[in-house]
Subunit: 317 residues, 2 copies
């Protein structure tokens, strides 16, 4: 890790912690539990790296780094209620520990604190960009829920969903980073597009993990997509590739209740090489993301952004 | 209704509808369902009346009127999931019709659209005030959930909860109304305090309705507070007023599962005159709210704000 970025990340952490701290002990226990959710801090990292690759890091970057992490955590807390997940990053989820009511309200608390924190930049434009991105996140999540069980989902539908639920926020992170570092309009657009493509690559890889990863490494309940009849890229590919009669049989199997779906799906997954196909698509997005960095002057942060495109498709957690 | 306010409310409705409209048919069906939730539009009314009582109504008032209604609707949608309520304003709730997942995400969608809409005023101060108020709303709701089942809740705790979940937003409405109408600092504070006290009066009256109202008039499931062991002012009063041994018996009854709690509670409610006590407290807040209007110049809107203080404690729905 580049030293200045490590210091920036610490500053982001401080803003995050100070913003959520409450005088109410019961609330503080809840907020402390969120520390266990602490993951890669990918979104603040993207924001800070985009900033340093373009110019100086300012106070707004630290504030907005905390904002994007708070929004991401809010969606995780609400996702866990939606998915009825019991484990996240190796510890029990908020809903498993405190119930759904508290989880819903804690997610709301994180959202409203994120928006209030954004306003402390004093810049309505930041509020607008964060608002736009979170609008898209919610649209994507709503569409995903609506389409759950739709076994005829197309690739186009799938990408519309992940552009909303994942790529809109990663694009926003990179845009804000570049913008507050004083980058010119073309560079800001390049970085926003880098963020969008990286988000796509990341989400396709995430969906692959749910099918082909190991729970021990991922640290969360896997196989939930199949269980919830949520169509992801490899599944769509399988159904598009096999003869119609076989596709119908697979749809019947996927629609049924009960376990062992992955085992039943495995022969078709191998025969159609659907996992390799999805991996290849993720790599294409990662490559396209990398291309958007070309106009940046050489720097260590540019190198890290470039390395992230490789990591996004090769990670195991 | 005063004619200009009716036109302002229509403008607020237009902003509200245009902001939430989506190109996705499945989303539009959900958003249309929210029209059934349409109630008194109390919060935009407070904002617009506070504005016209102080000065001219501007575009920001229409935008922020839609914002506060959207936030209120978001909390209703999430409340219905929390309460597992089946009916709201005489029609089925979103969670009863579409399930909890969709309700949680629709609430999030309303929150994020409200924040994005706020940013279109171009004023970070509006984002800050809306952010502050919604932070308090969530804190209040979280505390209410945490304290649910705490049969030793004090009056002070109760008022802290309702100041968050209700009064913070009504105070914010009046503050924003006065502020964007160009009122001076003292008037802005007067109106914010009017809004806070009116919100308190309104919430105490609402809690009374849940115990003493009729479902036909209120248009929603009543008695949910007792069912959820949520202590409200009359209940706290009863337990404070009866001898310790009787209070313990009542607590045991309230803590038990099963029905007919209201019937079992009725003798103690009558003996201690706890309903009258709560009504009297609501009236005190309403009166204190009215006093905050004294410095305003005479106007029809001032008269309506005054009338609202009376209505807040006498309504049946």
């Amino acid at each position: 890790m580049v030293a200045p970025i490590a210091r920036d990340l610490e500053a982001v952490e401080r803003v995050y912690t100070e913003t959520l701290a409450s005088a109410k002990p019961h609330l503080n226990r809840l907020i402390e539990h969120l520390n266990h959710y602490k993951g890669k801090r990918l979104r603040p990292m993207l924001l800070l790296l985009s900033a340093r690759a373009c110019g100086p890091v300012v106070k707004a970057h630290h504030i907005l780094g905390a904002v994007v992490e708070m929004i991401h955590t809010a969606t995780l807390v609400h996702d866990d209620v939606l998915d009825e997940a019991g484990t996240r990053r190796h510890v029990r989820t908020v809903n498993a520990g405190w119930g759904n009511k508290t989880s819903i309200l804690l997610g709301d608390y994180l959202f409203t604190h994120a928006f209030h924190l954004t306003s402390t930049t004093g810049d309505a434009r930041a509020c607008e960009l964060i608002g736009e991105a979170t609008n898209r996140v919610c649209e994507g999540e709503l569409r995903q829920t609506y389409e759950s069980g739709n076994l005829n989902l197309t690739e186009e539908d799938y990408f519309d969903i992940i552009d909303g639920k994942t790529a809109a926020l990663t694009a926003c992170c990179c845009r804000l980073g570049a913008m507050y570092a004083g980058a010119d309009a073309a560079t800001i657009e390049d970085l926003a597009e880098y963020g969008r493509l990286l988000g796509r690559a990341f989400q396709v890889a995430d969906d692959l993990l749910d099918l082909a990863g190991t729970e021990a490494k991922a640290g969360k309940t896997l196989g939930t997509d199949l269980e919830q009849r949520k169509m992801t890229l490899p599944l769509i590919r399988v159904l598009d590739s096999v003869p119609a009669a076989e596709a119908e049989q697979l749809r019947t199997m996927l629609a049924a209740t009960g376990n062992h779906k992955l085992e039943q799906l495995r022969p078709a997954l191998e025969q159609t090489q659907a996992l390799s196909y999805a991996r290849r698509r993720a790599e294409e997005f990662a490559k396209a993301a990398a291309a958007r960095l070309e106009r940046l002057s050489p720097s260590t942060c540019k190198d890290v952004l470039l390395a992230l495109t490789k990591w996004s498709v090769s990670r195991e957690s």
